[in-house]
Symmetry: C2
Subunit: 208 residues, 2 copies
DNA sequence: TAGATTGTTAATCGATTAACAATC
DNA sequence: TAGATTGTTAATCGATTAACAATC
């Protein structure tokens, strides 16, 4: 039965999606919680708990239909519809995201970028780069549902506030800032420095 | 007393470091678990439990010395020493990492990149790009302690194996692959697609 | 049907929060 | 000293694991 999906499960959903996709490509049609667990390094018990919590269905004695289960996951994750992203900041990170084909392939299209440097106001491959001060005019026609923050940390919070006023309710944050936001906004952080610091910690404590 | 530091605490360490750094820059000398908790969106209780678990010390009636606490955290995270990184893959992601000044500033220097495209075997700003097939010859003089995987997913696992043979014991993985590795290797993943998919999930379930 | 594996309840484990005595 | 806030123990909460009856 599909009830409350815990944060812990939500964080694992992309891994389920990824592993089931791999299985599909290998031509595997059906898999038990035992086998999937070995692959994903989770216990069979946890696999079954997880799948039940988000309403996936298996068949006693057989296991789970790979394709059916993946489609169910894609549906509840909102991956069956396309998303339109605007990237705020056309620096290294902004451009790396804009040019990474993978996201487009997974349903996330970058429709425009914004920067305050006039040098950058030009077509960048398929993606136009606009003046960030003209964002309010541009957004209605662009119809983005996600904004990507790839600008200096010092400008991040105020930009989020502006984006909120313009109707943006989902933000993918690449700045090393813990943003403050209303409860009706979804924010996911990619704190790369944090992740590198964790690696440093693990290196130092490998033998503990 | 400094005992076992849980995974959950390790994941929060970079945020402590970041917030204490901000406080230092604001000229704040001392802070209570109450105030720090408000800032970091954690309960005072958790702050005290966390700090005690990694051996930080406060003073009853006063709170924690900001600078002293941060230095303690930097020390146990291994951030007081420099790290030398090699980036495997000189594509968009590899270059974005190489050229992001922030990491260098925090003690992580990129000493070289490797790629299999001869077009890219040249000096890239301050960073040389070498032939990936010559990695074994190059690594001894470069003395890296971290390898960054920024190459196609299909090549990631084998590259990790090769790097292990060459003595690398810390890997920062940007490929969308769950790698298999020996217990004496530290691996931290930056699964950007996963993070974007989680955003998609949150957008869809904002009103649940 | 018999065997396998799910769905689900119960037990365990770990992390967070609460409470308060210790002490600066 | 009195007030404030830590350090630490106990209580609670949530997530993971184990167990097993249901059932394909």
């Amino acid at each position: 039965m599909s009830g409350y999906v815990s944060e812990a499960v939500i964080r694992r959903l992309p891994a389920y999606n990824r592993h089931l996709h791999e299985l599909e490509q290998e031509g595997v049609l059906q898999i038990s919680s035992q086998e999937l667990g070995e692959r994903m390094q989770l216990t069979p018990s946890q696999i079954r708990q997880d799948i039940n919590s988000f309403g996936g269905e298996g068949r006693q004695g057989f296991g789970y239909q790979v394709h059916e289960l993946r489609e169910h996951i894609r549906k509840i994750m909102g991956l069956t519809q396309r998303h339109r992203m605007v990237i705020i900041g056309a620096g290294r990170i902004g451009n790396a995201i804009a040019n990474y084909d993978g996201f487009d392939h997974e349903g996330f299209t970058t429709v425009a970028m914004f920067d305050n440097d006039p040098e950058k106001w030009k077509q960048n491959g398929k993606i136009p780069v606009y003046d960030v001060s003209r964002m309010a005019e541009r957004l209605p026609e662009l119809e983005p549902d996600i904004a990507v923050l790839a600008l200096p940390a010092s400008a991040a919070q105020e930009m989020l506030n502006r984006l909120y006023e313009m109707g943006i309710r989902a933000v993918w944050n690449f700045t090393p800032v813990d943003l403050q936001y209303a409860r009706d906004v979804a924010v996911v952080n990619v704190h790369m420095s944090d992740s590198l610091q964790i690696l440093s910690y693990l290196m130092k404590h490998q033998n503990d």
